[in-house]
């Protein structure tokens, strides 16, 4: 399934230097969802939660990170499973600048990405700096589909 050059194992999913645009965001979501379904036994609610939270992180990078730039830049998605701790950690990074969102002026119809990420994960960190943005999402009690290979 996984094209060459894209490291993907039962404990790791990586898309490095992906184009931060909506098409690529949708494709990464699908590939991540396939990876999640193949390697873990999660109930339908947790699968939905994880895929939606990751989608929002990737979509934010695709939509906002490179707004002032003419060309979309890169984003990196890395999912890491720690079997001992039973935690799944997904990190989405970009080197752009997310639009500063002032909650007071945010349209009612927008700005739900970060609240969703927080509500859908066990632990969410959004870390923005001049160098870019790093979103780290974590889930506990994640069980792998098979016993250790």
């Amino acid at each position: 399934m996984s094209p060459s050059g894209k490291p993907c194992t039962s404990t790791q999913f990586a898309r490095i230097d992906a184009v931060a645009d909506p098409q690529s965001a949708a494709q990464i979501r699908r590939e991540f969802s396939d990876w999640l379904g193949r390697h873990f036994t999660l109930d339908a609610t947790k699968v939905s939660d994880v895929v939606l939270a990751v989608n929002e992180a990737v979509a934010n990078a695709a939509e906002y990170a490179y707004v002032p730039a003419e060309q979309p830049g890169a984003m990196h998605v890395l999912a890491d499973y720690d079997g001992t701790a039973a935690t799944l950690t997904v990190t989405v990074t970009d080197e752009g600048a997310w639009r500063n969102v002032d909650p007071a002026t945010t349209e009612l119809s927008r700005g739900r990405g970060i609240p969703l990420m927080r509500a859908l994960s066990d632990h969410a960190i959004v870390d923005s700096s001049d160098a870019g943005t790093r979103v780290c999402l974590q889930w506990n009690r994640v069980t792998a589909a098979r016993a250790r290979a």
Partner: protein, 120 residues
């Protein structure tokens, strides 16, 4: 379309049930396909129905981009047009409730419930 695996698939079918326009949405509603839903809602509103119902029962992925369309729909439809959403399940009604959209737009588990609410 078969040659475009990167595109998200979304279908919106419009049905008139009495004075209510029902939009049956299927597939993925994300940042790529949300404009399709937005256009369908706007088109339905122009027919001056008594109400518009967006039925997400066949949607298997709903992103915040799609949720935003649902919230905006309430403001963009004429005030006389009732608006309701049908959703049930971990991919749709759960996130809608988590971010409080269920408090802003009428959310129903089935189309029958939504029709009953809008025609009451």
């Amino acid at each position: 379309m078969a040659n475009q695996p990167a595109a998200s698939n979304c279908a919106v079918e419009r049905q008139r049930i009495g004075e209510i326009d029902v939009l049956l949405v299927a597939g993925v509603v994300d940042m790529l396909t949300a404009p399709q839903l937005e256009e369908a809602i706007a088109a339905a509103g122009k027919e001056s129905p008594r109400g518009v119902i967006v039925d997400l029962s066949a949607v298997d992925f709903l992103a915040s981009a799609g949720m935003g369309i649902l919230v905006a729909a309430r403001d963009e439809l004429p005030p006389s047009v009732h608006f309701a959403v049908v959703a049930d399940g971990p991919a749709t009604s759960r996130p809608l409730k988590l971010v409080g959209i269920a408090d802003i737009v009428g959310l129903h588990a089935t189309l029958d419930e939504a029709l009953a609410a809008l025609t009451a």
